[in-house]
Symmetry: none
Subunit: 180 residues, 4 copies
DNA sequence: AATGAATGAGATTTCATTCAT
DNA sequence: TATGAATGAAATCTCATTCAT
């Protein structure tokens, strides 16, 4: 059911898909859908939460595998995100694309956090390696918007760029690169 | 009618609004709606096109007012965009937010272009002031995603940041800042 | 639409009838039903309110036509109610039958009032013509239950009794007959 | 299962309750419900039949306990009915309230009989103690409607009256009181 | 006997669109 | 040109019922 929903949401958008069709594609009855999820938004949210968990775990693992250098950690985290989007394009689009807020206000909004990036930047700033005037929270937020927006644009047509180029460009534009 | 549509699209989202309601809010009859637009997506597209034109004109004007310095041009363009979003929050959200692609595949996708930024960056690169390895097209695209994503995040709750801080942060993270 | 609803509610009961069928029987589209009533319960309530108004007006008129004698007033009022039930059997059943409370708790419950009868009885009691121990409110309420229940039973199969016999029996059992 | 059904029918009405919920409340599986009853109407009918039997037995016992005086027999029977309604309000409402006819035409309609009352009245009439013109069958029927209707009204909100007052009022209005 | 996941017919309700005025 | 009552296709959701375990 999750797979069927993911496929259809990614292909047609949440609003253009109905519970009937999801159930049918999953090879199950209509009623079965409703015995598992209260409505299609609940299914969407479930997909989003799982995707988010998967992405965060990939990022965490990548950072752990990197050494202590913040630049290297950031590079690895970006590479992990790009790889994740590449491996799970449908899930990425459904989670961060225009469906993001479609999951009606039923519980906390699903979104990635810019917190870890902000923490890293603040540490560099306090060590005097980033300009004191930089608003690290805003910079972290802006970076996240860039990464998500760029990956979504890429997934619309993967021929637009290649994974390595994306990692390189996102890496160069990450605020950690301002450090010295 | 445009104003009514803008208001309702921004407040409830395109899918949650029907043509009936738009007409009613505009103080006109239902039939009148259909004598002006083929459907609500046509109205949405019209709003988006006008918004886009307004934003581009504001940017162009800002760049023209700036001197020849690329950095200054970029600063001014960003300031213009932030001001535009601040003055027309509903229009900005309806044009670039989750409604962006809701205007069904009926004509070219409405979106801002990263072309001007790419042109500026390429000139600097050819003048040797930007690393030869930088993919300027991708960088321009990434910057645009950042700007749009950050402004949308800001408009969700304007207390999250102030306009000057946004201009400063976006300015610092613009690829033109890598130049030397 | 009212006529169609009345017919179907009386014939099959409110729960066994759907809005679709009512609209179809009225020779109108499904959507038309919903542009007039929020749901079938709203239609039911409308029918009930109209019926109640009609019955009350018939009673009032009958009492006005009677002279000053309470017994005569009661007789006439009963005769008016029986005639009303005979002329509008479907409306009577839909209003006082098992649908009475089916009109979900949306506004005050539709019911006939025992107030007028209680007022009449109290006057007689204060004039010493009815036993001081009689609870006139309860007696009025009980009489109303009897009248309604008996008429509903009669309408289930009109051959069970004839109108004159009903008026006579209800008249004899009305608490006003205890007076001396 | 009977207790669960009684509780839910009384609280929400037969149409608003589903077999699933009844089984769940009874602490049993859905399938178990269907191995005992063909559908929820069968359960309803079972409850009604048991209630009816209980009420009739209480009445019979009360009459047997009274002496040979018809008035006393009637008083006792009424007192028994009021007590029964007071002790089993849910069962009384489910049996005689708006659910009465909900038990679809599957077998004879469940209802109390006015026969015993009619028999008593006819005997009095033949002894010349009741007016020859009185339609005793109709009077018995009317009394029953009054008793049932009044008790249902009382059970909707028991503060409306007290048991003794009800017995007294119903007793005074019983046709046997016309006897001389 | 007891269970409950699975089912799908059917009821409710919405809304884009038409068309007579 | 403006109107809005009328429409019905389509989406959402419920629940009686079955059947494999």
């Amino acid at each position: 059911m999750l797979a069927a929903g993911l496929h259809l949401f990614a292909r047609h958008g949440c609003e253009a898909v109905n519970s009937n069709r999801i159930a049918r594609r999953a090879g199950l009855g209509i009623g079965t859908f409703y015995s598992h999820f209260t409505d299609k938004y609940a299914l969407l949210r479930e997909i989003q939460l799982r995707t988010l968990a998967g992405l965060q775990s990939a990022r965490t693992k990548a950072v752990a595998d990197a050494g202590p250098d913040p630049r290297e950690q950031v590079r690895r985290a970006i590479a992990a995100a790009v790889r994740f989007a590449q491996l799970h394009p449908a899930a990425y689009r459904v989670t961060f694309g225009r469906e993001r807020l479609a999951a009606k206000p039923r519980g906390p909004v699903v979104s990635e956090s810019s917190r870890p990036t902000a923490v890293t930047l603040r540490a560099l700033q306090q060590a005097g390696r980033l300009p004191a005037e930089l608003d690290v929270d805003l910079a972290a937020r802006a970076y996240l918007a860039m990464e998500v927006g760029t990956l979504l644009w890429w997934l619309e047509d993967p021929r637009r760029a290649n994974a390595d180029g994306l990692v390189d460009t996102l890496g160069r534009m990450h605020p950690v690169e301002m450090s010295r």
